[in-house]
Symmetry: C2
Subunit: 587 residues, 2 copies
């Protein structure tokens, strides 16, 4: 492509609307333009990157036997009613009506289409398994779309759905897909990892996320050298060995109230009580659908709201406001405790008390007294209060012991979720009666997996992982062009003729060249080439023109070598082939 | 692809819902399944065809310097209000609201997005021209979606938009795009032609359609050996040479009323009057937005409603009902005439009288008397009535003289509109202030072209043009697979091993093979291969296995030849290369 004819509206200044580096750079380098909040135009460079990622996804999925299909964007409401998600999905589902006033939604995910389709055409165990995927524009009406392509409302996604006769076959396919995902991101030149994850609104019995690692990622991943990796949302806290209590509960004095005026926080009160934070029971009060939840954790740990929500099976949990806390405890914020709490609060609902597993092992603890400016000491869980439920409620932190291996310690990394795999089981197959006849002629419900991959988000994650202060640093396989051919002095007819020939030769040899033939200063050409992140630069300046040798400069290392046109072609093709074979980890 | 693992749900019986042969065959051969009226799932075979067509479109547009982009499906209403089409587009525009109650539509066409985008990033004549295209899912809420992919509501379309500094440059690009379209359809193996067309709701100053010729097409095309071709909707009727009237109007007697009881039609009344149909003035009455139109044509010709609508600049015209005709003429249907008609009808609106050009040359004609059971004779247009307007109102018919060359005669063919090109001029550039600075630094409005191509409709048109009573007959470049490899006796391990090897060898050589390895009877395999229209069959039956020779059979001709695997590969690749070079016309 000749730059003079290309639509690449780069900006000299960093745009104010960009919130993260990938968003800023995509705007500045002329990859995208916003149409409305969370809705973008993909300009030629941006769309080339998305198509390259899509093509790698296609090749790797086809290789493992998946088949590409295309389902509609506009989906009849009846199908979503049949799965129960028309109500459950909430406001993120973009609903609409046609000219006949029939209700539809703009599909945010397609279990409701693929399941009845497969149910209608597959009838025998002999016709299973199938894994069907599509690469399609989705819409989720996020309340806070942000970070450009990282969390848009309209976005490009690959979604795959697999159908199986047995759970064992689903497990097998799930492993195949995990491996395919790892190959996909390796082929894109991205450093990624597969982590255990929560199932969320898609549901099912287990799930993993694929993270592209980047400092700027929204997600936290806990990982151990042994191979364990999980989203911090659900990474297991290793339970302390149960030691025989040093002191029998019977030896501990009865609960005693202590005046702790104005000392509502754990850190504030420990000094006065002469305790460590680990000896305090932190009492956190949450609103949930139809009631309140009281969460108890050791004073030196962090509550993981996601674990709390999962433990009690709530649709949501959100910290209670002061009024609700007062209604429950009769005290100001900071003085709540588990002893003597009512189990119903009028106008709010039932009260559930959930304690972290570590609470069960505490002896002689202190906690709030449910009375303003008072705490209680000598509290013994089980003696002085009994929670409704024990669960893992703590967030893991760096240095925590690994929950899987005997001596590993967890590290915490940041990442960007680019893929999500679910074992759905029969969650959708049941309502859509997706059944097959087994070898004995008996009707059996299929079991399903589903596998998402954000195409635009992968592009954004690639930038978050690969950029510097001058611009993007695309890995070669997903770069919009392989080589930026920079004609520095376009007024020299000899140089121009030489550059034209180089452009023709490279292009014919299958190298994708962005040929900067513009009437611009050399500095502008270098700055644009670096900003838009083309992996290699070939400069047509002075000396090379006479000798027939060119300077090939690598954008990410700055390394430059003189070589022939033929060697440029060979270098590009060899590097591409290297990535196609699965590539190295190129972080 | 192994057929045993592929999702190809063929049906033994022709499905009842199919309305045209392409729709029936796509359902029966497992290419598509309906989700809702005019909304389809594309199954693996169907989606492969659409992707192949898309890829040919991409290659040919990239070759002429177009750049691919992607615009959103969900478009803010403000943009459509700015162009004036939010009101004008009517119920085909699928409107929706987001969670914040802001209005959007699902884009049926994207002038409203691309124009402000280009306006915001292009500022100088040096940055023009640009031609930007996308291949995207569109939605038009058709009142009567029908014929499968031929007229769906959700459909895949390529839309391109070009921006120019001058009309001359637009004219140049328009020619380039016409040529690119012809190459695209030739490369798809389709017989097509470019015809003059009406501009319709997109607007602009001129437009052409690209038709794939097929007996079953919805459109009629008039064409001449000289190269003239036009949609019958707007094909020009050649005006008769103006001969000096044989008789001066003054020599014709005054208008005389004749009793013609019950003879309301031209054919009925000519006998009684002793005239030919050509001597009658046929008077047709239409309702339009805000009034009535009276159209006058010679009694032996056909009115072209599209021309009538265009001539008077109406949003629609529709034949008036009996009540309106009575109100206007005071007579029963069949006795209307142009003499003495009122120019306003209470409760309906103004009355416009439009006469075909041929009417001006009539002398001594007959027409209705605006009185039940009466006609009038000796009518002289201009003397006895004066139309508000003369225009070309006739439909051309086969054998009419060509409007362009001196001695050609028009033939009428049927076709399917698969592409549409428009010279938009400044219709969208003006409301979106798409301006550039010219060489003198003066702000000038850009001039635009737009170019649509229906991807799904092209697939349907290909079937309409290429099928037989056993199924589809795909041209090789857009067939879902090149070769159907039929293993007739899968229980013979030698045959199976041979077929497996042939499958590997062909696939590795870049031949796309659908390998029928199912445990099915030979008859089922042949029937399915023919139904789904794979262009070549390689049969692994008896003799070839020993000799290393295979039978390659061409689906469309039935020709079969024994050859080596290497020759199969060569045949496929040579045929594909032939099409890539622009191909022959393969009708």
């Amino acid at each position: 492509m000749r730059y003079s004819r290309a639509l690449i509206p780069t900006l000299r200044e960093m745009p104010s609307e960009g919130e993260v580096v990938s968003h800023q750079l995509m705007l500045r380098a002329g990859y995208i333009r916003q149409v409305a909040r969370g809705i973008y135009n993909y300009l030629p460079l941006g769309w080339r990157v998305l198509q390259k990622i899509s093509q790698i996804v296609r090749e790797e999925l086809d290789r493992v036997g998946c088949q590409e299909v295309q389902m509609p964007c506009v989906i009849p409401a009846e199908l979503w009613e049949q799965s129960g998600r028309w109500q459950a999905y909430g406001k993120e589902l973009l609903r609409l009506k046609d000219r006949h006033d029939r209700a539809y939604c703009f599909g945010p995910t397609h279990e409701e289409i693929i399941t009845p389709l497969v149910a209608s055409v597959v009838h025998s165990y002999k016709e299973l398994p199938h894994n069907l995927y599509q690469i399609q524009t989705k819409f989720r009406d996020e309340i806070r779309p942000r970070f450009g392509l990282m969390r848009g409302r309209e976005f490009l996604m690959k979604d795959a759905y697999s159908f199986h006769a047995t759970d064992a076959d689903l497990d097998r396919e799930y492993e195949v897909m995990c491996a395919a995902y790892q190959r996909i991101f390796a082929r894109c030149g991205l450093s990624s990892c597969v982590v255990e994850a929560a199932t969320g609104s898609i549901g099912g019995r287990s799930s993993h996320e694929v993270m592209v690692l980047a400092e700027t990622g929204e997600s936290e991943v806990a990982s151990c050298a042994c191979g364990y990796a999980a989203n911090v949302e659900m990474a297991e806290k290793r339970r302390k060995e149960t030691v025989t209590a040093a002191r029998d509960a019977a030896s501990i004095p009865a609960v005693r109230k202590v005046h702790t005026p104005g000392l509502g926080g754990v850190d504030d009160v420990v000094g006065l009580l002469g305790l460590t934070a680990a000896e305090m029971i932190k009492t956190l009060i949450y609103l949930r659908d139809g009631g309140l939840v009281v969460a108890l954790i050791p004073g030196d740990t962090l509550l993981n709201e996601h674990k709390l929500q999962t433990a009690i099976g709530a649709d949501f949990v959100t910290l209670a406001d002061e009024a609700a806390i007062r209604q429950l405890t009769g005290a100001a914020v900071g003085f709540a405790g588990p002893i003597g709490l009512p189990r119903v609060v009028e106008g709010i609902g039932a009260v559930t008390v959930v304690a972290d597993h570590a609470i069960a092992q505490m002896r002689d603890a202190a906690t709030g007294a449910n009375e303003t400016d008072y705490h209680v000491c000598h509290v013994v869980p089980g003696r002085d209060f009994v929670p409704d439920q024990y669960a893992d409620l703590q967030s893991v932190v760096a240095g925590d012991p690994c929950p899987r291996c005997s001596d590993g310690r967890l590290a915490i990394m940041r990442g960007i979720e680019v893929g999500h795999l679910f074992k759905l089981g029969t969650k959708y197959a049941k309502p859509f009666a997706a059944q097959f006849l087994d070898q004995d002629g008996k009707a059996v419900t299929m079991t399903m997996g589903c596998y998402g991959l954000g195409i635009g988000r992968t592009a954004a994650a690639a930038i978050e992982q690969h950029h510097d202060d001058r611009g993007m640093l695309w890995p070669l396989p997903i770069a919009p062009y392989h080589v930026a051919l920079l004609l520095l002095n376009g007024k020299n007819p000899e140089h121009r003729a030489y550059a034209d020939r180089a452009y023709e030769t490279l292009t014919t040899a299958g190298v994708e060249v962005l040929y900067d033939d513009r009437q611009e200063r050399a500095g502008v050409k270098f700055a644009d080439a670096e900003l838009i992140g083309i992996p290699y630069q070939v400069v047509i300046g002075g000396k090379g023109v006479e000798t027939g040798s060119l300077e090939l400069k690598e954008r990410c290392t700055g390394d430059a070598r003189m070589m022939s046109l033929q060697d440029v072609t060979t270098t590009i093709h060899e590097t591409l082939a290297h990535f196609r074979r699965g590539g190295p980890d190129v972080t």
